[in-house]
Symmetry: C2
Subunit: 301 residues, 2 copies
Amino acid sequence: MKVALLSGGVGGARFARGLVDVLAPGELTIVGNVGDDVEILGLHVSPDLDSLLYTLAGLSDEERGWGRAGETWNALAAAATWGGDDWFKLGDLDLGLHLVRTLALREGATLSAVTAGLIERAGLAATILPATDDRLRTHVETPAGTFSFQEWFVGRGHRDDVDAVVVEGADEAGAAPGVMDALDSAAAIVIAPSNPYVSIAPILSITEIRAALERRRVRCVAVVGGAAVKGPADRMLARMAGGTTPAHVASCYEGLVDALVVDESDLPAEAPVELVATRTLMVDRDASGRLAEVVLETACA
Amino acid sequence: MKVALLSGGVGGARFARGLVDVLAPGELTIVGNVGDDVEILGLHVSPDLDSLLYTLAGLSDEERGWGRAGETWNALAAAATWGGDDWFKLGDLDLGLHLVRTLALREGATLSAVTAGLIERAGLAATILPATDDRLRTHVETPAGTFSFQEWFVGRGHRDDVDAVVVEGADEAGAAPGVMDALDSAAAIVIAPSNPYVSIAPILSITEIRAALERRRVRCVAVVGGAAVKGPADRMLARMAGGTTPAHVASCYEGLVDALVVDESDLPAEAPVELVATRTLMVDRDASGRLAEVVLETACA
């Protein structure tokens, strides 16, 4: 069955790997967030697309939780000695990808074309599409001022409360090639256990994509990750949705989802959509696969 | 005494360190070749300026002969797996500098301004100036075709005989800020033991710089490195100057030098300029210093 997954970075990537494990090759298309893309040292970095790529390619550092296994940090350290920014942690292996992508973009390739090339080289069984090839940048409004997503998340260690999320470029952005097809032809649409405000909302801010979910003829299931909801997402839900229950998460996806898959520990709970409880904590690859199975069963119910 | 040195990369850099060791801080200004600058993976690389910088800053790998000590090669290896070029060996530490410089150039800084910033951060006692801030690119004509310098030198391992050297952009290039001052106010002008055709000729191809040497009121001394003349320079001299004797080297600098400092092993020899014989092989830092002393004595004779 063809599945379309809307996803952010690390947590979404782990879930995506679970889906890949239980689907047939080619059945999964991931629509990845690009609102937290950032230019660092002149390089175009797409953290969420890269987390997806590295995780599905088996290149990610499971212990650190982001970036590549066996990573080194020499280029960034050297750049810092020459006056370069080093607040955003780019490893040497990671830089290799950013160099290749940035050069291709500068030569006129689209982000989706570059991403397709990377996926082909990695030999992935899934497709990863950027939500858009247009410029999309997530900003957060906080009591301390407005910051780009990475300035707030990495630069300031997401210490500021978030009052609002603004996605710059959303009005002009069109879905990247393949995205509308993937959404319209999917037998199920899934929203990954990613931060609803800063990982999923930027994808849904693209008018065409939101419209595709609104007019869906298949079920759309959102996964509420136990682990993902801790930390920034938890604080954002409390402040902007008024609470962290499944109902509060559901309010982020109003009219867009038919069911939420939530953690057992969140029950009992009520929500305006169907609730399915399971273990959502992806402690290992098997756990991701089991979660994916529950989600697909829910989508096909 | 103020000294202006025209220099290419590695050999010139070792000699420059000798000069720094025997001169007072601030007395040496190096005019570095930029004809072999190259864009790799979207980055602006200035190999000769960097060899000078790394050597004078004590960062160079003495054993390998180029690049930085303690270098790693992870970014380039990763770039290659994603389809990036890896024929030009960029180490991770080295990349840090290229990232910072490329970003600054893209933001509108000149190469000389960027270089000045690097020198300041490294705390060097000498000034390094690019010969020009304009685009200058050395190409070699060979029986196998015309190649950019780095394509020929690194990409093809300088295996082709060279029939001619063409410096693209020479007609339009002006001397970088500080270069004319350095040449006009120097108490001695020195040409480093670098390849006359591909390291020094590109500097001299800039009309203003050549004119400054032609109208000099101080002596100009060229150093003919025993080691430097082996390999590519040796073959180029044999083919383009008709031989490798001091007289043949002198023919490359006709009207521009008053004396050549040559290796003892090159004597007896005749040349249309004064010949001073010494040990030119810079086996260690002390040897570079002794060579520098002989050169300065010759310049002040």
